[in-house]
């Protein structure tokens, strides 16, 4: 694989975490424009863990994703009563607040004679774990896809379970779900928290892949892309958002002829798909038909 291909594939893998994160919230019937915040929290926390505190990489990733999950839980508990547009706006507000706040966070410590740590808008550089441990880009790509595969497998498993059914019912009609004896608020909170965890894990990977992060990386466009991937790929299965990512980055990025127009093509594609297939390519009905067809053959 060429260096370029490895970098595109790695980016695809990492943004897939944002896409899965946004998808989990879509499943319970809400829209989040703020999953980039949890990606950011994961990036800053796990970056700090290796670069400032010298923790091992695995532990750093865990700390990053757990911090993101904790933040998502706190914000979720505050906004659990909001629905629709109000919920969506609240997620965006939190993400923007966090990003602006990061611009003023200066926590630098001396490591090996150099100052390391978040330096406000100047960003947080020298997250040197991959250099110090001689991890090649190809190896890091395998780490990304290994973890992505694990998250995806877990989501697919949950979807087949009783909990998965409950989450979908809450997404379709929370009131009707409650009259089946489902605790709709608990389901939503769980989804929000798990979505935070997934985004945080992706963020932790990103910090070590990029070795340099700054608050502006975690702007709303990142969240909107993540959201769009689920809407394109389909909300019927966790494979949907992955299809969205592959279509946008893998496919459009690959077509050199539209370089520079990619965002326009992508935007148009989203618009057309939402008209023709409002719940994406692999929506619930199609997923159900495919499953039946597979069972029969």
């Amino acid at each position: 694989m060429s260096e370029y291909a490895i970098s595109v594939a790695s980016n695809m893998g990492m943004i897939a975490f944002v896409a899965l994160s946004a998808y989990v919230i879509l499943v319970v019937g809400e829209i989040s424009f703020g999953q980039q915040a949890y990606f950011g929290i994961g990036a800053y926390m796990s970056g700090a863990a290796t670069a400032m505190w010298g923790w091992p990489f695995g532990l750093a990733l865990a700390v990053g994703s757990l911090s993101a999950a904790a933040a998502a839980f706190a914000i979720g508990a505050l906004t659990i009563r909001l629905r629709g547009l109000y919920f969506a706006i609240s997620t965006l507000c939190f993400a923007e607040m966090l990003r602006l706040w990061l611009n003023s966070v200066h926590v630098r410590v001396e490591v090996d004679g150099e100052m390391v740590g978040p330096d406000g808008a100047e960003g947080f550089g020298d997250i040197r774990w991959i250099f110090e441990n001689d991890v090649t880009p190809l190896e890091f790509m395998f780490i990304i896809y290994g973890l992505l595969g694990a998250v995806l497998a877990f989501l697919l498993l949950v979807e087949r379970s009783r909990l998965g059914a409950a989450l979908r019912m809450v997404g379709q009609d929370p009131l009707l779900a409650r009259s089946q004896g489902i605790d709709a608020s608990a389901c939503k909170l769980l989804a929000v928290m798990f979505a935070g965890l997934i985004a945080g894990l992706g963020g932790g990977l990103y910090a070590h892949f990029a070795t340099y992060i700054e608050p502006n990386v975690f702007n709303v466009m990142l969240g909107v892309h993540g959201l769009a991937y689920g809407l394109i790929g389909g909300l019927g299965t966790a494979l949907g958002p992955i299809i969205g990512v592959v279509l946008d980055i893998g496919f459009l990025e690959g077509i050199r002829a539209i370089q520079g127009y990619r965002m326009i093509v992508f935007g148009g594609l989203v618009a057309i798909l939402l008209i023709v297939m409002p719940r994406g390519i692999l929506d619930e009905t199609r997923v159900y038909r495919i499953k039946r067809w597979m069972r029969r053959t």
Binding site: A165, A166, Q172, Q180, T285
Partner: protein, 239 residues
Amino acid sequence: MLEVRDLVTAYGTIEALKGVTLSAKQGEITCILGPNGAGKTTLMYSIACILKPVSGSVKVNDTEITGTSAPHALRCGIALVPENRLVFHSMSVEENLMAGAYTRLSSDRAGVQADIDNAYARFPSLKDRRAQIAGTLSGGEQQMLAVARAMMSRPKILMMDEPSLGLAPLIVAEIFSIIRQLNDEGVSIVLVEQNAHKALQIANRFYLLDQGRVTFSGTPGEIGEDDFIQRAYLGSKVA
């Protein structure tokens, strides 16, 4: 069996129920009538613990359930077929039935399967459509599915909020015969209806709800005696 006392439920500062007292007896069909906006749906949600009342009490077999959770009300034997939101649209008929047995889905697989078979025996048209996506069912079929799903929780009290809404007379007749059949099998029924003529034909006892208050209650035999009800809700003399 079901005792509701001085129930007050508010949306914000607006009280939709202003102190409702009623009771539904074991094995009976209790009918709640009232004009649009009377608070009938609010009452159903309050009894099912989906809305939290401001004050008052709801008791099932002398057990207080006010302010507990919807799952708890369901465990106490109350099932609700809500108004206007009958089925999970993108789930299949069978998945909808399983949703009704959600609370025992993993603990009692054999029982759930047996109940699904029972539901198909009662509603043969659902059996033919078991794999169909519920959103593509006709209005009547959706109402049948909603009743079948509510029965999956093995309720002692089945509450139905305007089951005849938007359905053709023939289907309405079918629904009412199913209600009566379920009642014969021992399920107590609480029925919200606009269709007073039809409702009074099967009800043992009825309550009139208006602007959040019970304005009249009685048995169908008594209704002819009250001129006000006739004019307000039935239009013409009841045969």
